[in-house]
Every structure is written in C-alpha cells, then in structure tokens.
C-alpha cells in the first residue's frame, strides 16, 4: 500500500464517520422542527369536561367538586372524594394544566377535618384564593375561587 492510498483511506474513514454524525444531526433537526409531531398530542389538548360518572358519595367534607372556570381546561369538573388532588404541569398531577405561569407541582387540595384545604407546594407564581396569595395551608370554602397560574377553579357544593 502506498503512503498516498493509506492517507486517502484514512481521510475517507474520518469523512464517513462525520457523514454518519451529520445524518444523525439532520434527523435530530427534523425532529426539532416538528415538535408537535414527536410529542404526544394528548396533553396539549383541552379536555372536554368528562361527566362525572358517579357523584361523590355524601362525604363529610363540604365541597364536592372543583369546577374550572377560567383557563384552557374551562368546564372541567373535578369531583372531590376522599383523596387529595394535585394541581400542576407535571403529567402525573390530578389536574394537569398547560400553563407557563404554573409550576410542575403547584398546589394540592386535600381533605382535613371536614373541609378541603389548599396548600401551595412552593410554586413560583403562588396560589391564590380569591385575592389573597396563600402562604400556609388554607381552607377552601364553597364558592371560593382558587387561582393557579391562569387557571381558576371554583369550589362547588
């Protein structure tokens, strides 16, 4: 093998290696261009209010449902049973809200001594009941509006 031929093969090898890298990067770029396609469409879709199949059994706690009155999920009804409800952008939250002003784990609503209590989970923009920003777990009375980011939920009987 002549020196020249070896040099050419050497460069060809590096060239092919980089060609491979460039093709992968092209594919990556195509994926970035169409983020909606690679991402499941489900999460971004505003969900129509599912009719609660069963109305929560008469529980001791006062409110029985949270109704979304403002924001992308408007109309959604979240029946309150006995378990806590978490609100945030994280996909495993009970109420998943797509909102840049909400934190991943924004707030939770849980039953305590016959009432529903809201607790802010260290969110960036705060959790508001009517016009007050809450700092400690606060009781959410019937009729009160709970605001998380651009979403407002109302406690109903």
């Amino acid at each position: 093998m002549s020196e020249l031929a070896l040099t050419l093969i050497r460069l060809a090898f590096l060239g092919l290696l980089w060609l491979f890298v460039l093709i992968t990067i092209l594919v990556l770029r195509r994926d970035l261009r169409q983020p909606a396609e690679t991402r499941p469409t489900g999460r971004a879709r505003p969900v129509k209010a599912p009719k609660p199949a069963k109305v929560a059994r008469a529980s001791k706690v006062r409110g029985t449902k949270l109704v979304v009155t403002e924001g992308p999920l408007t109309g959604t009804v979240i029946p309150l049973n006995t378990a806590q409800v978490t609100i945030g952008r994280a996909p495993d939250s009970t109420v998943v809200i797509e909102d840049d002003y909400a934190s991943s784990r924004h707030a939770r609503v849980y039953p305590s001594e016959g009432a529903w209590v809201v607790e802010d989970l260290g969110s960036t923009n705060g959790t508001w009941i009517d016009r007050t920003r809450i700092t400690t777990p606060t009781v959410l009375p019937v009729g009160a509006a709970l605001r998380v980011g651009r979403t407002t939920l109302q406690m109903q009987r």
């Binding site: 093998m1 031929a5 070896l6 040099t7 093969i9 050497r10 460069l11 060809a12 090898f13 590096l14 092919l16 290696l17 980089w18 060609l19 491979f20 890298v21 093709i23 992968t24 990067i25 594919v27 990556l28 994926d31 983020p35 909606a36 396609e37 690679t38 991402r39 499941p40 469409t41 489900g42 999460r43 971004a44 879709r45 505003p46 969900v47 129509k48 599912p50 609660p52 992308p72 999920l73 959604t76 979240i78 029946p79 049973n81 006995t82 378990a83 978490t86 994280a90 996909p91 495993d92 009970t94 109420v95 998943v96 797509e98 991943s104 784990r105 989970l121 260290g122």
Partner: protein, 466 residues
C-alpha cells in the same frame, strides 16, 4: 410547550428507513476500518474479513428487523449510533490484537489469543438479549410491578463479587464473579436493575419527597425522613467502594441516584444535598484509602510518576498528542504502549489513531445517544417511563464522563468501561439492554395515539381514579 395545538393527529413517520441507512453507513465504516487496519499494518487483507464483517452485518440487520417488527415507531437514532459505537470498539480491539500479535512476533514470544472474536461473541449475546427484551417487554410500564424485586436483585448482584469462591479479584478490584469458565461483572447488570428500582420507587415516593417542609438559606430542604433513600444510596455506594475497591461503580450509582431524585422532584435542594454527601464521601475516601489518594496524586501530576503509577495516563496523553488533529490513521499508531488499551484506555487508542476529528465524532455520537434518551424521557407520557428513560440515559452519560474524563485527565482516573467500546462482555451486554429498553420506551413515546388510548387517557389526565 405548545399552546393548544391543532387537534388533528398527524402521522408520525416511523423513520425506519433512516435507521437502515445509518446502519448500512455504520457497517461500511466497519468494513473500511478493517481493511485499513489490515493494509496499514502490513498484514494484508484480513483473512477472515468477510466472516467477521458478515456476522456484524447480520447482527445489525436482525436488530433492525426486530425493531421494525416489535417497536415500529422507536427512535431511529438509538440503534445505529449504538451499533456504530460497538463497531468502532470491535475495530479498535482488532487493531490492538494485531499490534499485540506483531509485538509477540518481534519478541518471539507466544502469540496472544485475539480478543476480537470473544468480543464479537459477546456482541451476538448482546443482540440476543436485545431481541429478548424487545419481545418480552411489550410495555415498559409492566416493569414497574417488579420495582422491589429489581431493587433486591440489584443489591444482591452488587455484593455478589464479595461472596466466597465465586467472587474474584482482578487488578485490585473485586468486581468479578466467576462461575465455571465464565466470568462477568454483576455490577453491570445491577446498574440496570437499580435504575429500574429507582424509577419505580421515585414515581411512588416523589410526592412526599417534593413536599418541602423546612426552608433554609432560601432553599427548601426535605424532611429528615425523606433523606432516608439518599442515605441508603450513599452508604451502598460507599460500601462498594470500600469492600470492592471499585471507585467508578460507586461514583456511577451515587450520581445516578442524585440525578434521578432531582428529575423526579425537581427540587434543586437535592443537588445541593447530593453534592454535600459527595464531598463528605470523597473526603472520607481520600483520607481512608491508599488507592483513592494515589489516583488523585497521579491526576494532579502524572509526569512525576511517569514510570510507575502514572505510566498509563502519561502514555494515554502521549497517544492523544501523537494523534493530533487528523489522527495517525487506523493501524498506524502505537496503541499498545498504554496498558489495558482495549478496556479502560480504548479511548486513548481511538484518540491516537483517529485524532481530534475522530474524538469529536465519537463524543458527538455519545452526546446524540444520550440526547435521544433524554428526549424519550421528555416525550413519553407516564412518569415511570420518564424516570426510567432519563435514568438509563444518565447511566450512559455518567459512564462516558467518568471514563473519558479520566483518560483525558480532566478528572482523576477511575476504572469504568467505555460504553459499547471497551473489550468486556458484561458491559457490552448491559449497555445493549439499556438501548433495548430505551427503544421500547421511545416506541411508546412516538407512537401516534390511537383511538383506544383516547377515552382512557382523557379521563386519567384530569381525574386520577381513586
């Protein structure tokens, strides 16, 4: 994230064609590289060229077809990149075999057995496992059921090398298990099992871990009770370090757990606590263990120990220097100057023969692989899948960082295998299983949603069933 996308569900291209093209490209690189090594070392066209090249081609094709069959919408990048890395590893191992054989001939010593065929066999076993994972694990969410079994099994595997009779010590580190004529590193399997365990555990516990109770210095710190798992991870990884003298593995496990905690809870305080634990652990290890101290002193000034403990790293750096920008060319460097050139220091051999250009391509390949893993984590819907994909990607990332950082003297050298490249069966097989799992998850993430999903998901999305 996108604000109220149009509702239409568009066809997600499966991109299997791209995958095949890239695989052919990777295979062609293998052929070209083998020929180049044969010609430039004066061996001529390798005698068994078409057998080895054919085997690699068939293995790649089998994987491609299985992905087509079982995970149609999987990420098209993962498989070809991992294949190319394996092929580069096989090339370098073959190259080092040739060099070792020639040296033995010069010194009229007995011919060493070539490693490349063993590695090829391991690649075949890895492909079998890859196929098995894709066929057996139809849905990654099923794996969540066995969270604690995986955790227990992982821990057992981790301490297995300490067991009498079967545990073996090689070069001062006790991380081998020898049964019959076969030996393997259980830590490699344990890393996958523990990632599965961490993911399953954190999905369940992350609520309590994320609920911050005490604010301190402007950062929320978790409760003492929640620190439990962290302490356990810390103790286990230190235990591995103490009893098996395996610096790399303990670093890997600790880093893996911290990053997974951070991803699961999204609390920066975990990173700070983790760093504190790391600092304490590192300081203790430095004070207590001779070998840790050695590594650090050599790292600070390898040239002072160029003939003794620093020999490896100095030779490795000379190799990189000799490679320069374009590399010496495959078959034209002196990779055998570095001890363990085909395991820990395979990157040094690549750096010498492919140069900076090749190193950058290599690092980009790793970056792309890890990026695809993390992207899978971002796009899959279920939390377990997210954590698992992220954890697996992080495992690869940490390994690459620890070993390439060590070889290039960015950080003190710790023994870990270079994923897909290093000679060694357990590592190759384990990393291919990681790729299989990532492909399985990415198939789920990229699959266009069909009718059967909608009804169910719309409900669980808003109201979790209690």
């Amino acid at each position: 994230m996108s604000e109220s996308e149009p509702q239409s569900i568009r066809r997600q291209p499966s991109r299997r064609g791209t995958e095949l093209l890239l695989l052919i490209c990777a295979w062609a690189l293998g052929v070209l590289g083998t020929l180049q090594i044969g010609w430039s070392t004066g061996e001529g066209t390798p005698s068994r060229l078409w057998v080895t090249v054919g085997v690699v081609g068939v293995l790649a094709l089998v994987m491609h077809l299985v992905v087509r069959w079982k995970a149609k919408y999987a990420d098209p990048i993962l498989l070809p990149v991992a294949t190319l890395l394996t092929i580069l590893g096989l090339l370098m191992i073959y190259r080092i075999d040739v060099a070792a054989a020639q040296r033995a001939e010069r010194n009229s010593a007995p011919q060493p057995t070539p490693d490349v065929y063993a590695q090829l066999t391991w690649f075949a076993i890895a492909v079998v496992l890859f196929v098995a994972v894709l066929i057996l694990v139809k849905d990654h969410r099923r794996l969540q059921r066995y969270t604690y079994s995986f955790g227990l099994l992982g821990l057992i595997l981790l301490i297995l090398p300490l067991a009498p009779i079967i545990g073996t010590t090689v070069n001062g580190a006790t991380l081998w298990v020898r049964v019959g004529g076969l030996s393997f590193q259980p830590a490699e399997a344990a890393k996958i099992l523990l990632t599965l365990f961490f993911a399953g555990y954190l999905v369940v516990k992350r609520d309590s871990l994320a609920l911050v109770r005490t604010k301190f210095l402007g950062l929320g710190f978790p409760q003492l009770r929640d620190l439990g798992p962290l302490v356990i991870a810390w103790v286990v990884s230190l235990g591995v370090l103490v009893f098996e003298r395996d610096l790399g593995t303990s670093l890997l496990f600790f880093g893996l757990f911290i990053t997974m905690l951070y991803i699961a809870t999204q609390r920066r305080s975990w990173l700070i606590i983790g760093s504190l634990f790391f600092a304490v652990g590192a300081y203790l290890a430095y004070q207590l263990f001779e070998h840790v101290r050695n590594r650090v002193t050599v790292w600070l000034d390898p040239w002072a120990y160029a003939d003794t403990t620093g020999y490896q790293i100095v030779q490795s750096l000379y190799g990189f220097a000799n490679g320069g920008i374009m590399g010496a060319g495959l078959g034209q460097g002196f990779p055998t100057f570095v001890p363990f050139a085909n395991t820990d220091f395979i990157v040094a051999a690549i750096g010498e023969e492919l140069g900076l250009t090749g190193m950058f391509a290599l690092l980009l390949l790793y970056a792309v692989l890890i990026e695809r893993g993390l992207r899978t984590a971002v796009s899959v819907r279920d939390s377990f899948g997210q954590l698992l994909a992220a954890g697996l990607a992080i495992t690869l990332a940490l390994q690459v960082f620890v070993i390439i950082g060590g070889v290039t003297r960015l950080i003190p050298l710790t023994g870990l295998t270079t994923p897909f490249l290093s000679y060694g069966g357990s590592s190759l097989v384990a990393n291919w299983v990681i790729i299989a799992l990532l492909i399985r998850i990415s198939d789920r993430a990229r699959r266009p949603e069909v009718q059967q999903f909608d009804a169910d998901d719309a409900l669980t999305q808003v109201v979790r069933r209690v």
